[in-house]
């Protein structure tokens, strides 16, 4: 389960590596968290819609490695700025939580 509100940041972080389609994003998150974070498809898509509406990502149709049509999402400058601001804050918060809960 992913906490509400944090999925957006995580997705944005994923996109810093370049344009991805939703499944790629899912894979990346699950790999990077060593399977700890399981991303529900519906929630992910809602996040993508949100991010696109707020102008943090743009999307265009492309072709995947498997020759399938998929929508590729890309970070915008606004998204990058948002990630920088909120991402560090979230990380610090997580660190604090960790130190409290693991004593």
């Amino acid at each position: 389960m992913i906490l509400k509100g944090t999925l957006d940041i995580v997705v944005l972080k994923a996109l810093t590596l370049g344009p991805m389609h939703p499944f790629e994003i899912t894979c990346w998150i699950e790999e990077r968290s060593a399977g700890q974070l399981e991303v529900e498809g519906g929630a992910l898509f809602q996040a993508m819609v949100r991010l696109e509406e707020r102008g943090f990502v743009t999307a265009d149709w492309g072709v995947t490695a498997n020759n399938r049509r998929a929508r590729y999402y890309r970070l915008t400058p606004a998204g990058r700025a948002y990630l920088r601001a909120e991402g560090t804050q979230l990380a610090r918060y997580a660190e604090a939580l960790t130190s409290i809960l693991t004593t």
Binding site: E38, G41, N66
Partner: protein, 911 residues
Amino acid sequence: MPYEIRAGVRRLFRLAIRRPELAHAEMDEELRSYVEERVDYLVARGWTPDAARADALRRLGAPVSQVRERLHQSVQRREARMDLRERIHDVLHDVRLVARGLRREPIVSGFTIVLLALGIGANAAMFGVADRLLLRGPDGVRDANRVVRWFQTERPAGRPEFTTSALGYVSYETVGRLTRSFTALGAYAIRDATTGRGEEARKARVGYTTADFFSMLMVRPAVGRFFDAEDDSPIAPRRVVVLSYGVWQRAFGGDPTVLGRAFIVGDETFTIVGVAPKGFNGVDLERVDLWIPMSITGMMRGPQWRTAWYVTWLRVVGRLSPGVTLEQASADLTAAHRRAYSGEDQAVARADLFVAPLSSNGEGRELRERAVARWLLGVAAVVLLIACANVANLGLARALRRQREVAVRLALGAGRGRLARLFLVEGLLLSIAGAVAGLAVAWFIAQLTRRVLLPDIEWTSSPLDVRVLAMSALCAVVTGLVIGLVPLIRVRSLTLVGALKSGRGEGGGRRSHARAGLTVAQAGLSFALLIGAGLFVRSLSNIRAIDLGFEPDRVLAASVVWPGPSMTTPPEVRQREAAQRNAFMRQVLERVRQLPGVEHASLSIGVPYGDGFGVRVRAPGVDSIPRLKGGGPYIRVITGDYFATMGTRLVRGRSFTDQDRGGSERVAIVSETMATTLWPNDGAVGRCLIIGVDSMPCARIVGVVADTRRGQLREDAAMQYYVPLGQEVRVSARPVLLVRSAGDPSALVGPVRRVMLGMDPALAYVDAQLMREFVDPQLRSWQLGAAVFGLFGMLALLVAGSGLYSVVAYFVVQRTHEIAVRVALGASARRVAMLILGNGVGLTLAGLAIGTVIALVAGRFVEPLLFETSARDPVVFGVVAALLLCAATLASIVPTVRARHVDVMEALREE
């Protein structure tokens, strides 16, 4: 790496995505692709396809249909919001682009904005005026279009019929009871009165009304209450008064504790019971300061004021029942009148009654000001049209200058839609800027119109109130669309090759026709407007030239208000008081004659534009004195200097001297009409009249004077005669002091007042007015027409002139090459000048032709508003045509002069 879809296709998709079903389809495809990718992924890691699919669907979320549904909604919302944001972005971008372009040509842009400011501002101002006169009913009255006035048309035997709105209380009561067309009735009369005492006395307009007047109008008081039936009781009316909002603010500072306080009106004390709402003036547009129950003033008209049919002095208004038309109410009213009438006057018994809207004048027809207001609206619209045409011309010129830029843009893929949007944004930006600047123009024109041209009307709202602002905004939008669309028409037929190929040498073609056409239209409209101005000016001068029989310009009329006689004063006492007053006024006359700046002064009972009197008169030797159309014979009681003071011409014989007074030989002076009517063959001097009572000795006629107007600019003829002060019989009104000043009569108002108050400080009030103020209001509507048509006509001429200038200048630029060739081939400077001037003048002549047609057609509708002027007056047409041609020549001269400096060689080389 994903492939990039080409820009054009992407845009196509964006276009397609606008509809929700397609957005849903897109989301479905994304979801499908997501599932399939996972399936591939799992299968690649050894899962079976079925298990992989099951897992993929599970990971999507459960139940899948719900997830899908919610995603559809989210996507729809996203599309809507992003769409809007993108549109706003695009528009802002366009605005910035357009603004930059306009800034690059500051003179043209500035000029355009000024033109639009004039056009839109003029419209806003005229709309404000027309709004008050035509559209809005009187303030405070609910559903004013259902409230109507009563009129009575009488057809007396042997005389022309006449219509009046002055009815008796008995009409209101008895006829009112018998009609069934009204939900409520009310009656009112407006009179001048004085409030306060001595130096602090002020003149006020008082509305005397029945108690149901206010409830019929459905108006609510701002403070306190209006009268009720007990206040207006005919036997014992209460002395209560309702203040107008303005008086409440001015005299009491808006103090809410004003109820119950005393207020002096005339020579009685009233109690304040309420304050009327802001802007309320009853059913008329002129200001009313106070409201008092009708019975208070009714009593002064004799004990039978409520029952006598000949005591007519008030106006009746009523609210029509739902669904009743004017015709039905009129028929009903006439029938009721026939049943109710119990008097003896056959003419009144046979009279027809009818109802007409509140905005009617005294004879049941539309107020002339309203008709003029309608024309003002039209005129302002025409000015705006001209301004638009000019701006469109400029826009076309600009579009032509940017032809290549535009063509290149089109070739590089800018949609025509996008270009259209740019032009529209430009048009709207210019017109909004023009509208904002136009507010100043509107304010100025509105103030001019209100203060100078229509000062009697109380203007209850600011010149820039909400309705006017809304109208300005509407004008701006419409204008912006129009001037944005005109260049668009040009763009549609533009091709890249054509644009790149075009050089300076291109002339003629559809392009010039559009601009020439616009210029001709402007010239035509300006011509029509100026014709209107000329006609009104002509009317005005015709009116001014009317011989009133006296010269009001430097005359001051001052009358004194004493506490009035009550009904119970016995006649001997009244006569003694009258004699005292006359003696007082004679003393005042002597004193005033010695004031500096006074040329002549006299007393008169009965003044032009004031009160008129008639007594029984017989002429020995003449069988009966005929009754002329204008009524009469009217009598005036004067002192010697009267004719010199008023500037009336003495035709024959002599005027009165100081020797003619009470006790000396009885003499009289008659007007020309009276002389020629009664004694056509022998002349009147030497004849005599028996005035007042039969037992009086015959008054010998010693002189004949010119006729004078009694109260209107155009009147039917009537007979007038004069007797000296002291010899009058049965005329007991107060004499009025008339003063002719050497200079400005208003400078004498203060000194005259001081003389009078100095001699008797207990006077209630001294009323001093310029004679000019009586005559001028009747000139108002023509002055209004002349001023507005004239102002707008001049504006139009300026605008059209500048338009012509730009067209001719462009013509020169276009034909530079051709001109250079002609010069090279030996054409003289004069021929070249003729060519260019000819172009300008030719356009103007075409405009004149069109303008003449418009003026002739519209003239038919303007004619009723004019005064003894034909709408086809050739002098006016001639003068205006000459004016227009002069302006055209002037406008064309500058480019002509410039053309002389064309460097032939360079022009030939450049192509």
